[in-house]
Symmetry: C2
Subunit: 156 residues, 2 copies
DNA sequence: CTAGATAGTGAACCAGGTTGTCTATCATGT
DNA sequence: ACATGATAGACAACCTGGTTCACTATCTAG
């Protein structure tokens, strides 16, 4: 039986790999006119999506409380990535929508992630990369968004 | 050319995979007498190692300020995982060492990580898992510890 | 023996999470 | 028609784990 590395290397490599993608994303986003965006903003905007959402829904999607979602929305609003409007159908609700600036960030993120994936593909070979993705799918939950990403590392 | 998934799936899967390992580690650690330990504590204790360190060194290893390292050490001391003694060679320095309780947590973590890796190996096949690890090594920095793990997601 | 570097600490601040509480609005059953 | 309960959002107080700035104590070198 060939020697397996110590088990603790695996999680570290996964985190490091994640980090390196995110770091490169944000370095590139900074160069492309989005210097103030931070990792969780990208995830949150991805979760908001083009059609908008509400604080409660967003909290539900991300697995955080509505208050936390509300704070994050406030921040994103302050830096110009989203805007809130009252829902005329239900005046309790406020619809959170990406601004054109936010849409731009989201589109650029998608492009940059594709480019980064292409770089990995060039390094590892597309077949190996697809195998890696396929393997990761086998060991992770189906729902991509329930990652409780914002702050989970600090609080759990 | 066969269809590649959108690039943003990859980082999410990496994070999710990391999370799931860490969550299972801590669920198991909780069952084995370490209910208060939290994700970053494991990393920090791993970084402290059996021979001990100092706040400045630890901060350097983890990529955070010495003050942040000091706070974390304080927390670990409070819950009994490390202890600090003055260095007789240089009375400015305080050597941080794992207590037997801390050693126990570290040993159990290592065992649990090995078990979790074995589970992945059973799910994916040992060859695929080794391929995955090898691929991750190709796209991550060599130094396993420079992950700025504690809180990095919140602050960057 | 003084000047500069280094170890640790404290204070003030920030981000992002939590729980608990409150108001406004919607929806429903009598 | 209206009281009751559920829901959306906001506010406050608090926790963690980061940051910077400032300070003391100690070591090291010229």
């Amino acid at each position: 039986m060939s020697s397996a590395p110590p088990g603790f290397e695996l999680p570290l490599r996964l985190l490091l790999a994640f980090r390196s993608l995110i770091d490169e994303l944000h370095a590139e986003l900074g160069r492309q006119g989005h210097p103030d965006i931070r990792p969780m903003h990208g995830f949150v905007m991805q979760a908001i999506g083009p059609q908008g959402t509400t604080a409660v829904d967003l909290g539900h999607t991300l697995g955080v409380t509505k208050q936390a979602a509300g704070k994050t929305i406030e921040t994103l609003e302050r830096i110009g990535y989203v805007e809130r409007t009252r829902d005329p159908e239900d005046t309790r609700r406020k619809i959170v929508r990406l601004t054109p600036y936010g849409m731009d960030a989201l589109a650029r993120s998608a492009q940059i992630f594709d480019d980064l994936r292409a770089r990995w593909s060039a390094t590892l070979g597309e077949d190996r990369l697809q195998a890696l993705e396929s393997d990761l799918r086998k060991v992770t939950p189906a729902d991509l968004w329930r990652l409780d990403a914002p702050g989970w590392f600090g609080t759990m």
